[in-house]
Symmetry: C3
């Protein structure tokens, strides 16, 4: 199990935790919480794979199903302490979207699509899971209203191509573009930066 | 038209009825009610087929489109009496999820996936239609909060494999695993058994 | 760039504008508004292409991504005047669904499906984008409750086949069936015609 895989699993765990916790806040039962956690973790990559016409990545190995189960167990056992770990989860989550974005870009490259599609697929991989989560729990998707989130994924995709242009070795391209996502995400939250919202027409 | 097909059509009818009735409760127009009924009936199998990369099953023959139309007609004509038939629909619905689960497991086996994917595909086939229905009518999906529903599908998928292990003939495998779903579903409703819910963190 | 392409782009623009404006009314940020605009414009065709098992149409050329960006820019710049253009947008939108319906029917024909599937694919292409838009902004889909919308698409699909039966040249078939959608849509709004709704059972 290489380093990338370890990070991927931690990212999946952090995503699943966020789904399980929001489901718990809505009084979902254990199974519902599991499903929301799973969709949060694998939803973005699944939508990407359907559009690229390849088999959804999580159907190739049971890791993601198991990690979501561990996330559910974790929330059940450490329910009272889980709030204190918010910062830890936030870091994992940021690392997760960074890594997911790079994975998404590379899946799309492998399928032979042009640059701009690859950047979009990176953003979908990193951000669409959270969007599905919010639709399932019947909330307006958070990523559309708060924080820099999907935009961080788009930045990461662009950085990926800048690195390719500079002919950096593959591993540098991956690390630098994932870091770009993570840094944009962390800085935007730390300094409370968010995109302006469109004012409704009647104001 | 064999026995399985008859059951499949009754299950589709029961699913479509549940979609049409919930749409009516939200004042949808006739077309909207039809769409919600159709999505409830075929949504689970469609998501399964997209993930297995085969053509959605309902596109192969017009039966499902027609049965949904009959369900809409049925609700329009027998609107005042339909409530009294709740128990009948409940039975059909339970039989429907039992059969849909078996169909889903077998589609996934035919596509060459491993056991755990097949069980998930069975559960998606049986339960995802109701989930889409609730998203369309803008409610928190019921299957995440009440009753044993998707869990019954998972049980059926596991029973399917236990029967395979015992090397029972195919038709016994199908009937026993469908019955497992139906029995779990009926008993859970009869005795008011539901999964515990995750308590929100602030309690 | 031929005439059909010009109309396609204007239709896309009108669809994207409707998504962006509704997102603005819900205080989405700029990125969220862009995503909702994009999903409104390309969501129907994407669902169609996933079910027909072809690559989503917008992944073949960047036009749709760019047009959605222009729509966002347009709403930002002309925010105060955009309400006055409601009638103009309505016309573009009606032309858009007419054209989208024809495109959807023809994609489905090209993929070798029977008549009734083609008509459904036409309706999905014309109407599903607006449905996704409403799910994203957490509203009950408008097309299920008000006006003749998806039904106009279905009418257009049927007219398409009547024209084929009359062995009209291809371009006439396209124009007449698109016009059928547009006329049904405009007349239903002008005269306030809508489908009856199913009365809830307790009334």
């Amino acid at each position: 199990m290489d380093f990338i895989t370890v990070i991927d699993y931690f990212g999946t765990f952090a995503f699943a935790i966020s789904g399980v916790r929001l489901a718990a806040a809505k009084n979902f039962d254990l199974f519902g919480a599991y499903v929301v956690g799973f969709v949060t973790a694998v939803g973005g990559g699944t939508l990407r794979d359907l559009m690229l016409d390849v088999t959804p990545f999580w159907m190739g190995q049971p890791s993601y199903v198991i990690i979501t189960g561990l996330a559910l167990l974790f929330v059940i056992i450490f329910r009272k302490y889980v709030v204190r770990l918010d910062n830890t989860f936030f870091i994992f989550d940021a690392i997760g979207i960074g890594l997911f974005t790079v994975v998404g870009v590379e899946c799309s490259i492998a399928a032979g699509f042009p640059v701009w599609v690859n950047i979009i697929m990176g953003a979908i991989t990193g951000a669409a899971g959270g969007m599905f989560r919010d639709i399932f729990i019947n909330e307006v998707p958070l990523i559309f209203r708060k924080d820099i989130y999907a935009v961080a994924c788009v930045c990461g995709g662009i950085v990926y191509y800048l690195c390719l242009l500079m002919e950096l070795p593959q591993v540098f391209v991956q690390v630098i573009s994932a870091l770009a996502v993570i840094i944009v995400r962390l800085l935007s939250v730390k300094f409370g930066i968010s995109l302006p919202s469109l004012k409704p027409e009647d104001q």
